[in-house]
């Protein structure tokens, strides 16, 4: 089975790189001792398969959020390659998506990717109605029938347990949990092949968290969408993912089946994480 996303040596450096930062940093630090640049993401490589939920776990500053932003083209990578082998993405599978024009990157994003951010402000337009937020990707994909768009928005909002009567209200009036669910509906509006979830339950009340996690799990089973789930919370990782990568200082220090990583961590850092949380 061919992976739908292949990431090779993905790198993002903040600051004026001396050009050899990657040689100078490792798991103990991500600040280059020569030029002071921060290697937020250092040579990350992995594959994502169809219908798979991949976890990325680490503490803050580990580079896991950077990774997701790079995959969604929110930020420019400093180096490396990403290959999207997606039918909807057309013939781009053979090409490094990071080197495409902004126009083509947006096409891939609009047709094949969805993202949910930790902070709803980042993923939603707060002064646009909830239904409008969900419809936005449909509009950019060329939908031109308002009735159809509203029906699809209403269906997605209902599926994410937002009262449809509130479809024409802006999300700034909603609770935190509701805003997250609107984000999920929005991310799914164009039936993406890959859904990126960045700390989506962090900051929510525990009962609300549970509800959001249940929703994500059931959506995945129903739609078979591949997901990358970023979290510092091992409980979230355990409940959603089948495979996991552990990141520290911008590098993957350990990767494998989620159960194995959590029951029998090999790397010192993973052992520290597991023992301190569970």
């Amino acid at each position: 089975m061919k992976p739908i996303v292949q990431v090779r040596d993905l790198t993002r450096i903040f600051g004026d790189s001396c050009g050899r930062c990657l040689e100078h940093v490792d798991e103990t630090t991500n600040i280059c001792p020569v030029c002071g640049s921060v290697v937020a993401c250092g040579g990350v490589s992995f594959d994502l398969y169809p219908d798979e939920v991949l976890g990325v776990v680490g503490e803050s500053g580990s580079g896991k959020s950077t990774l997701v932003r790079l995959l969604h083209f929110d930020w420019e990578a400093t180096g490396g390659a990403v290959y999207y082998n997606l039918q909807a993405a057309g013939s781009y599978g053979a090409v490094n998506a990071l080197e495409l024009s902004p126009f083509l990157k947006r096409q891939i994003r609009n047709t094949s990717l969805g993202i949910v951010y930790q902070n709803p402000q980042d993923g939603l337009r707060m002064n646009v109605t909830a239904g409008g937020n969900v419809a936005e990707r449909l509009l950019t994909a060329g939908w031109r029938n308002v009735g159809n768009m509203r029906a699809r928005s209403a269906m997605l909002l209902q599926r994410t347990e937002i009262p449809v009567s509130r479809m024409d209200e802006p999300p700034r009036n909603f609770s935190g949990g509701m805003q997250q669910r609107v984000q999920i509906a929005k991310a799914l509006s164009n039936s993406p092949a890959v859904l990126l979830l960045d700390e989506v339950t962090t900051g929510l009340d525990l009962s609300v968290q549970a509800r959001v996690l249940d929703l994500i799990r059931s959506l995945q089973r129903e739609l078979h969408v591949s997901m990358i789930v970023v979290s510092h919370d091992l409980g979230v990782i355990r409940s959603l993912t089948s495979r996991t990568m552990v990141m520290k200082h911008g590098r993957i220090v350990e990767a494998g089946l989620t159960d194995q990583i959590l029951e029998d961590p090999q790397h010192r850092y993973t052992q520290l994480l597991v023992s301190s949380q569970l």
């Binding site: 002071g36 029906a151 209403a154 449809v164 009567s165 479809m167």
Partner: protein, 376 residues
């Protein structure tokens, strides 16, 4: 049934212009001479030259008379006149160290090399209306000048001929002032009178737009920054008023050749360093310059120069695009007043919309899913 007069626009305009003229002459006072405006309202002339973007005191004075004192109109007339003039050449870009100073102060230091020279300023005058001005005569002017010259023991002629050291150089020598960023973009010399502004605008384009900007608009934005919608917190490093030589390349010898001089006001302000630059902390600066004696504008310009260099604008005065788009007096005045033009066709369209909108009943969102299910 009513009949709407659709003729008569031309006659109405002619009559309106006559009425304007009448407002000017009906009082019976003697016509103002252009020289009187040039001499006694010289600060108005300076302002109009600066905003009209043409150094021509006589034309500015004429415009002020023709516009009956409306400074925006007068600047507009000068600018329109400027548009008819062919471009004969370009002056050489020169440092302003050889400005022939008549006024020069610094707020950053108590005293500076060359001294604090107040010059002609009303900063320290009491703003009490002086009724004796009603009774002046040409004779009283002559008498005053004669007394002034005798008391001062001077021969007529202005300024100090030697150039004064720059206060900012004191900070530079100590390494306390940020060096300007030098890139092809910052070195490029644009011409905003010939090209449309694009954003982000190169530095020369921004400076040109500010130098010919409207004093009130620039003051408003700089003031907003000073009050806290922004963070420049300026100290005036140096303010100079004086005469700057204008030089061109001599077509025969190829050497710089002075063709005249222009009176300018120049301001350099000191502000905190740009965040995120490496190394030890330094000050940054802002630069302002304009035609004539107009300190409010030069200081505002210097504050805005610095504030639009903020990399992450958090206030209107920090957004380069916001500032440069809104400080041209000719454009802002024109657009503001254009709303007096008939807009009845567009308004009719709006009436149509609102009348229709009042008849619409919105479908409830809750009903959408029901309808879909029914249709399925």
């Amino acid at each position: 049934m009513g009949y709407v007069a659709v003729k008569g626009g031309g006659l109405a305009i002619e009559n309106a212009l006559k009425y304007v003229e009448r407002e000017r002459v009906k009082g019976g006072s003697s016509p103002i001479k252009i020289e009187q405006i040039g001499d006694q309202l010289h600060l108005a002339v300076d302002r109009v030259m600066g905003e009209g973007s043409l150094y021509a005191p006589g034309l500015a004075a004429l415009a002020i008379k023709q516009a009956a004192g409306d400074m925006l109109e007068a600047s507009f007339m000068v600018r329109a006149y400027r548009a008819t003039l062919p471009r004969l050449g370009y002056s050489l870009a020169r440092p302003t160290g050889n400005l022939r100073v008549i006024r020069r102060i610094s707020s950053a230091f108590k005293d500076i090399p060359g001294g604090q020279i107040l010059g002609p300023t009303s900063d320290y005058s009491l703003r009490l209306l002086d009724f004796s001005l009603k009774y002046e005569t040409e004779e009283s002017y002559r008498e005053w000048l004669r007394k002034f010259t005798d008391d001062a023991g001077l021969t007529p002629g202005e300024g100090r001929l030697e150039s004064l050291p720059r206060v900012m150089d004191l900070l530079r020598e100590e390494g306390l002032l940020e060096e300007p960023v030098v890139t092809p973009e910052t070195q490029q010399i644009c011409d905003v009178t010939r090209d449309s502004l694009e954003f982000p605008a190169p530095r020369s384009a921004a400076m040109q737009a500010l130098a010919r900007g409207e004093t009130g608009g620039m003051l408003c934005l700089a003031y907003s920054n000073m009050r806290g919608f922004g963070s420049v917190h300026p100290t005036i490093g140096e303010l100079r008023v004086g005469y700057l030589p204008v030089e061109v390349t001599n077509p025969i010898t190829g050497e710089p050749y002075k063709v005249g001089e222009v009176k300018v006001t120049e301001a350099e302000i000191i502000s905190k360093g740009h965040g995120g630059r490496k190394g030890k902390p330094k000050f940054s600066m802002g630069y302002g310059i304009c035609f004539g004696h107009n300190e409010t504008k030069a200081i505002s310009m210097a504050v805005l120069d610095r504030s639009i260099q903020e990399e992450e604008p958090s206030a209107p005065s920090e957004s380069q695009e916001f500032v440069l788009q809104h400080i041209d007096g000719i454009e802002s005045m024109g657009f503001c007043n254009h709303f007096k033009l008939p807009h009845y066709v567009t308004f009719q369209s709006g009436l149509d919309r609102i009348r229709k909108a009042r008849t619409i009943i919105l479908e409830k969102p809750q009903d959408i899913i029901k309808t879909k299910e029914e249709n399925a």
